[in-house]
């Protein structure tokens, strides 16, 4: 089973080619006559020299050494690894979408503008916000954009004393990282015994310095922040704004809207909630939505409609500017748009219902075998603790690695930070009862192994192409590229 795989640079022969291009029509022209010698490359880059089939076999073999949603269950908490509909991959490849240049005149790209405009309206309806920008390329990029908007808004208000952003101790790491990129000081607020933001602790850290509160709801424990309206009031009372991290929006569509909870700025992750593939780490898309009073600060341009013509509005003097070139990851927006067409209002609500149903089912069936630190109704995900197994010398990491032997991608582990030996499970709505039951059986089996035969768990995985990798050495003596002389 175990085997290494040669690098693309180990394959091929000098002079072998994998490309075909039309004949050079200007073979009598010399680039040396056009470009000063100092500017020309002296040594060729060591790119591969392989045939087309060699290239295809290489990347096909690499793909077989990888697990995706189509390969098997992927309950990676906080990432919403739902099924990625194939029709979306087809429609995004329509020539009208792929073969348009961002600088073509508006009259030539009315279909693209209509799609962006329509998507804005759909996302606004789902979330209760007023306007959306599609420019941010990912969730974290959306956070950065949202915080820039908050900063610009406060600056216009003359509220220069507002320099602090409050973030719960259960928050995603991107929240504090984004806040500090915008020059805000990060203030942490503790969670209470119920796993929710502690209202008294919040009151203590809120002050006239508070620029905003970043919140995920349901939070990273999968629990709905029941006191959300009170929290919004506390922050709004001192002139701060509420930022909604939409990573967990899959739990509440058609049930509750951030805009109605008091949030002023939100981002959504189209690659989580709206079914676009994660691509092995991207491209994602992180549209940012705001309430009316913040629309003027959105990145420019916004798409507007006049009669039946769509156009880009650049006349936004208070805009924070651009956070990415042009209109964001447009192709990802196309796929998410097709996804929403497939579901309609009823389907969108059903998505959240089934996501929550599946998570609660797994939680109930597993809590006997693993510790459940917060035993109450959860939303689309829940967090177990491997504490009990840890006492028996089997760490959560071991449990995760053992799951690999069953062709299951493990849950998110060691996050959120406030749960010891955390295992964050998010099944999503697209999995069958059979898959859920299979996962339950596997988790129970691993819990038993941890007691009866811990070694099999500690030494897992047993069936993967490589065994556990030495990450410490990789970080201490980084080898980040191949070199020809080696």
């Amino acid at each position: 089973m175990r085997k290494g795989k040669e690098l693309i640079f180990d394959l091929g022969k000098e002079g072998r080619v994998g490309f075909s291009l039309p004949e050079d029509e200007f073979s009598d022209m010399n680039i040396e006559d056009e470009i000063p010698a100092d500017y020309l490359r002296k040594e060729e880059p060591a790119l591969p020299e392989v045939s087309e089939l060699e290239a295809v076999r290489h990347f096909t073999e690499l793909s077989t050494r990888n697990h995706g949603v189509d390969s098997g269950f992927y309950p990676l908490g906080s990432c919403t690894m739902k099924y990625n509909a194939k029709v979306n991959e087809d429609v995004v490849r329509y020539s009208g979408f792929t073969n348009t240049h961002p600088l073509q005149p508006e009259g030539m790209v009315q279909g693209n503008l209509e799609l962006i405009y329509d998507m804005d309206r759909k996302l606004s309806e789902i979330t209760g916000m007023d306007r959306f920008t599609m420019q941010p390329a990912a969730g974290a990029h959306g956070e950065l954009t949202g915080l820039m908007i908050i900063k610009s808004y406060l600056k216009k208000q003359g509220a220069t004393e507002k320099t602090e952003v409050i973030v719960p101790d259960s928050a995603h790491g991107t929240n504090p990282a984004s806040a500090s990129m915008v020059g805000f000081k990060v203030v942490e607020v503790k969670s209470n015994k119920k796993g929710l933001v502690d209202i008294d602790a919040l009151k203590e850290v809120v002050s006239e310095k508070t620029a905003g509160l970043m919140l995920t709801n349901p939070n990273t424990l999968g629990l709905f922040e029941e006191d959300i309206t009170e929290m919004a009031e506390i922050v709004h009372d001192v002139g701060g704004l509420l930022y909604y991290d939409g990573a967990n929006a899959n739990a509440i569509m058609g049930k509750s809207r951030p805009g109605d909870m008091g949030f002023d700025v939100i981002h959504l992750n189209l690659h989580k909630t709206f079914g676009t593939p994660h691509g092995g780490g991207g491209p994602g898309s992180g549209p940012v939505g705001v309430k009316e009073e913040l629309v003027e600060f959105l990145p420019k341009p916004l798409v507007e409609k006049e009669e039946d013509k769509y156009y880009f509005n650049y006349d936004m003097p208070n805009s924070i500017g651009k956070v990415r070139s042009y209109y964001g990851n447009f192709g990802v927006v196309v796929k998410a748009y097709a996804y929403l067409l497939a579901l309609g209002a009823k389907g969108v609500e059903r998505v959240s219902e089934d996501a929550v149903l599946n998570a609660n089912y797994l939680k109930e069936k597993l809590k006997e075998y693993y510790e459940l630190p917060y035993d109450r109704v959860c939303k689309h995900e829940f967090v177990l603790s491997g504490k009990r197994q840890k006492e028996g010398k089997v760490a959560t990491l071991d449990i995760a690695k053992r799951l690999l032997d069953f062709e299951v991608h493990p849950p998110t582990i060691y996050f959120p930070l406030i749960v010891e030996e955390a295992l964050m499970v998010e099944p999503t709505e697209t999995e069958t009862v059979e898959t859920l039951n299979q996962f339950i059986d596997t988790m129970i089996q691993i819990a038993k192994e941890a007691e009866e035969n811990p070694e099999v768990v500690q030494k897992a995985p047993h069936n993967t192409v490589v065994s556990r990798l030495d990450e410490a050495t990789a970080a201490r003596k980084p080898k980040l590229r191949w070199k020809s002389e080696e």
Binding site: F26, A177, R324, G347, W482
Partner: protein, 448 residues
């Protein structure tokens, strides 16, 4: 009814029973009444797959796409040929339905592909370390500016040439303003960065000097000299590069660049109305631990087999939180994979051929058009695959007329540079033919 939602009515009841409750509503009792949505969303009826395709065909059909035109529009995004193999590999669902390779044992395929990508970017840029990708060229440039202030602690000033793409500079302005950095611009002379003005602008406070090569006008900058000027004040030298050009132009890393970034679209990614593409980011070994984003490293498993892992993670947001080198989490992995497949197929010879043919065709076009009455080259310096041409008629008028002949003309530089009104930026890639260039020239001749 919903092919993505598998549960039957009976199964839902079975699951509810398993939880020990009677209705779905009981799972939502934690949402307070005052924030509960008591109506159906206004999102319309669900559509069948056939109807989805019809609607999307309708939208796509409302665009006039470049497959029906001959395009000379570039300005940062280019019509380079994409071999068929690229998309076939991208459609391997083990790649596109995966997420960030957090579990290396079942992600060796992607991790190795990223390692190969990092190697190729290092080879092209002449630098030691590349990350796994950024959102686009513009945000990669902004992250380079932020990184330079982390390397040159307490320096709060970024200097950028106005020959850097206006789109990139706009993103740079946004990031710098949010991070309370001072951004200074340096004007150009004869289509390239004005060295004397640069000398006036840089100070001991300058964290980095950012230039683009080939620059926004297609002109080649004297990188070695610019690097010296930046290094004279101990600032980092950042180069925004066109990756295709690096097949024939000297690697910026060999000319003094400390960071090389750029837009990777031209490497196997369609123009796609501006995204998704990817930005590449490379730097020197010395600044390795300051690099933003994911990085893959080689290591071994328990049994000594070669394997790959995400590494240097203590720089990243999920570990370091507010002290991370950047907030980036999701990147543009699949677009970087497209580039890896593209660079593999094109290889040493093919990439050079693409660069050479683009350069030659652009030079033929420039010469041909400059000979026409009412047209002259805006700048005399050496250029790669784009050039600026001064026109008598306005650029928008010319473009309007060209469209009638199914030609998409160049970008109007007057939009961004007041001194360059009636100046058109034309891009010529290897996909254009002599015949198409002749047709363009002939058509231009008739417009005065």
């Amino acid at each position: 009814m919903f092919p993505y939602l598998p549960h039957t009515k009976e199964e839902r009841e079975e699951l509810l029973a398993g939880i020990g409750i009677d209705s779905i509503d009981e799972l939502f009792t934690d949402i307070p009444d005052e924030v509960k949505l008591e109506r159906e969303l206004d999102l319309g009826q669900p559509l069948s797959e056939l109807e989805i395709k019809r609607r999307m065909e309708e939208l796509s059909g409302k665009n006039q796409d470049l497959s029906e035109y001959t395009s000379f529009l570039g300005a940062g995004f280019y019509d380079h040929y994409i071999p068929s193999v690229v998309d076939h590999i991208l459609l391997r669902s083990e790649f596109y339905t995966a997420y960030t390779p957090y579990q290396p044992e079942i992600s060796q395929g992607y991790l190795q592909a990223i390692f190969e990508y990092q190697t190729m970017i290092c080879e092209l840029t002449g630098l030691d370390v590349a990350n796994a990708s950024m959102y686009d060229g513009a945000s990669a440039t902004a992250e380079a500016a932020l990184m330079s202030t982390a390397v040159k602690r307490r320096r709060k000033e970024i200097v950028v040439s106005t020959t850097v793409s206006p789109e990139i500079r706009e993103v740079l302005v946004t990031y710098c303003s949010a991070a309370d950095l001072v951004l200074k611009e340096v004007d150009f002379n004869q289509g390239v960065t004005d060295h004397d003005k640069l000398k006036e602008v840089i100070t001991e406070e300058t964290a980095s000097v950012i230039v683009q090569n080939p620059n926004f006008f297609g002109q080649l900058e004297d990188l070695a000299q610019l690097a010296d000027l930046a290094h004279d004040v101990d600032a980092l030298f950042v180069v925004v590069a066109d990756p295709i050009s690096l097949a024939i132009l000297e690697a910026p890393g060999n000319l003094g660049a400390d960071i090389v970034v750029g837009e990777g679209q031209g490497l196997g990614n369609p123009q796609s109305f501006g995204g998704p593409h990817f930005g590449f980011f490379a730097t020197t070994k010395r600044n390795m631990r300051r690099i933003p984003g994911r990085v893959v490293g080689e290591t071994v498993d328990d049994e000594g087999n070669r394997g790959f892992v995400l590494t240097l993670q203590t720089r990243e947001q999920h570990i370091r939180r507010e002290r991370a080198t950047s907030n980036i989490c999701s990147n543009q992995a699949l677009n970087a994979l497209a580039a890896t497949v593209y660079l593999t197929l094109m290889g040493k010879k093919g990439l050079k051929e693409v660069a050479k043919q683009s350069l030659k065709k652009a030079h033929y076009a420039a010469e041909r058009i400059a000979k026409l009455d009412g047209y002259e080259l805006a700048f005399d310096g050496p250029f790669f695959k784009e050039f600026a041409i001064k026109t008598e008629a306005s650029v928008s008028e010319i473009n309007q007329e060209l469209l009638e002949d199914k030609i998409v003309g160049g970008y109007d530089l007057g939009n961004d540079y007041s001194q360059l009104s009636n100046t058109m930026l034309l891009a010529v890639t290897e996909k254009r033919t002599k015949e198409e260039v002749d047709k363009l020239a002939k058509r231009l001749e008739g417009i005065k």
